[in-house]
């Protein structure tokens, strides 16, 4: 004796869930999927992932890209290599040409994604080199803006840079800093690092935050303007690994913790408050520096045990049933994972997703999390290794 049955599978789709036994899954979840998108309540094969532009240099890795608008309302799309700054040609995409034109040095670090931000129509960027650079889209060359000319910092020619750059309170800030001094000095950074800084040396301060003067992003020397300065975090056990800035507050990420930064309202000696949300030896922090990605009031980062969504109103683990699979790919990574929040994949094609790109043997695995549908979908691309953060840029 048998009975007729129908089983229906339809949206909303919950994405991949590799943790729940497949027989116990919700019908809207999938135990295995690859290279499909779950946009607009439909399963579709992923769009073609194709070459659209040459790299600035054929054999030198691009370290990121960013668009900004200059003071003339002109848009520029910039790329970075270890040679320096490049910008996209207006007639980009023409076969047989380099789509990028070299704007200028100084050199950037090799193999380190660039942290950049436009502030008052000027692009600021750095990537672990001991200086912060800027380009306004008008001048012929980028400029070093983080010079430290006082004798405290070794006299003319000194400068400071960092791995992560952001803006809060009209001040450009850098985290995980590098200090270059020309003359030998007694270290101005007390509590960490060597006591004596030899002439022409670069010293790393992975727990240091340095900020420019208020509203003057090319003054970084606190002996020149007292609203510039630095904060050495001696009370945390780890290094800074990234940052998210949300207007008047910022989350400063460490390997095992997060520090909350707010503004005091004073532009003088103490412009910021800092509150370690936790400074335990082990805890939720960002362990993959370039897994942090932000879109407006929402951001994402990867900790040792989950992927987290963070914002002004939320702090939640979002790995869900995909967490173990993501962590397994991270454990197999052959390079640093990079991430971005993509709001639109083409002009008018909206699909807001956090994309975590993990280089693994045989290509790159992209784990995408839809902010609308709250589901994960994996994609595998054997033909490429993604080297820098994905981002939406003008062409």
């Amino acid at each position: 004796m048998s009975k007729y049955l129908e089983i229906e599978y339809s949206a909303p789709y919950r994405g991949i869930d590799t943790e729940t036994p497949a027989i116990l899954l919700d019908p809207s979840a999938s135990p295995a999927m690859l290279n499909v998108w779950l946009r607009n309540k439909e399963i579709r094969s992923a769009p073609p992932f194709i070459r659209i532009l040459s790299g600035p240099e054929r054999n030198n890795a691009p370290l990121g890209q960013s668009s900004f608008m200059d003071a003339n309302n002109q848009n520029h799309t910039c790329s970075f290599t270890s040679r320096g700054l490049w910008q996209l040609r207006a007639n980009n995409g023409t076969p047989g040409q380099n789509d990028w034109i070299f704007v200028g040095a100084p050199f950037l670090a090799t193999g380190v994604p660039v942290s950049s931000r436009a502030f008052a129509n000027v692009l600021y960027y750095t990537n672990g080199v001991p200086y912060v650079l800027s380009w306004d889209g008008i001048e012929s060359n980028p400029q070093v803006v983080s010079q430290l000319n006082s004798s405290t910092f070794g006299g003319a020619g000194g400068s400071v840079g960092g791995l992560f750059l952001y803006e809060i309170n009209d001040q450009v800030c850098i985290l995980n800093c590098s200090l270059f001094n020309v003359a030998q000095i007694t270290s101005p950074i007390t509590g960490s690092g060597p006591t004596t800084l030899l002439a022409n040396s670069v010293t790393q301060y992975p727990q240091l935050l340095w900020y420019s003067a208020n509203g003057i992003p090319d003054v970084w020397d606190p002996t020149v303007n007292i609203s510039a300065g630095f904060e050495n975090f001696l009370d945390v056990p780890d290094n800074f690994t990234g940052v998210m800035a949300f207007g008047e507050v910022a989350y400063l990420f460490r390997n095992n913790g997060i520090t909350y930064q707010t503004i005091t309202g004073s532009t003088a000696l103490a412009p910021f408050y800092f509150d370690h949300m936790w400074s335990s030896e082990y805890g939720v922090g960002c362990v993959y520096p370039w897994s942090i990605a932000q879109y407006g009031s929402v951001g994402f980062f990867v900790s040792t045990e989950d992927v987290y969504k963070i914002g002004v109103e939320a702090f939640e683990a979002v790995g869900g049933g995909a967490r173990d699979a993501i962590m397994a790919d991270l454990a197999n990574a052959i390079g640093y994972p990079v991430a971005g929040v993509i709001s639109s994949y083409a002009y008018g094609y909206i699909y807001v997703r956090y994309e975590l790109c993990i280089p693994i043997p045989g290509g790159t695995k992209i784990w995408s999390y839809s902010l609308d549908d709250k589901n994960w979908m994996p994609q595998m691309y054997p033909q490429v290794q993604i080297l820098g953060r994905p981002s939406v840029c003008w062409r």
Partner: protein, 192 residues
Amino acid sequence: MAVPTPPAPPLPRYPPYGGNSGGSGGGAAGGGSATGTGVYVPTSNGGVFAQSRSAMYPVLNLVNGNMEYYSFNPMVAPNDIVTGSSYSWKVEQVKPFRSFTTRGICWMFTDLGQVTATWTMTGVNESQNVVSIPKTVQVGNQIPTGKIMAVLISFGLTAMNQQLSVSRSPNAGPLSIVKVTLYGECEENQLA
């Protein structure tokens, strides 16, 4: 009586000077220009027309070793020629330790163009062997209509714990699944 001199026009914020023109290729040194009032206005150093936006991925091409920029192109049919696609649904028990027969499925899809997909029903029998029936079908029109269409695919698999999956090979066309309905019969006998 002398004709009064008209007041100087306001400084133009936008073209006709060089900025916002998109440039002729970028990278040229900003030369600046003189307006009718003799005020120097620096021009932008290159730039883009900003008529389109792309999600840009800096990549190392593992095939030719070049550094390039990649992007998804969602404005064409989702038919990647390099990578295939696959999707599996949950395992259906229906009733514990009872086999059921999947007569077939009804696949509803958006007609994005011709696509070849392989649908597979997989299950296990009481002897703990895996049994599987794949069916490769081609659907869709050469000129996509964008309409929602449906097709029946017959299987005739009798097994326990059955699971439906679909796969599409690289360059096999744009796959769309709006809804899938699995139909068949289930044993009603009591256990023991």
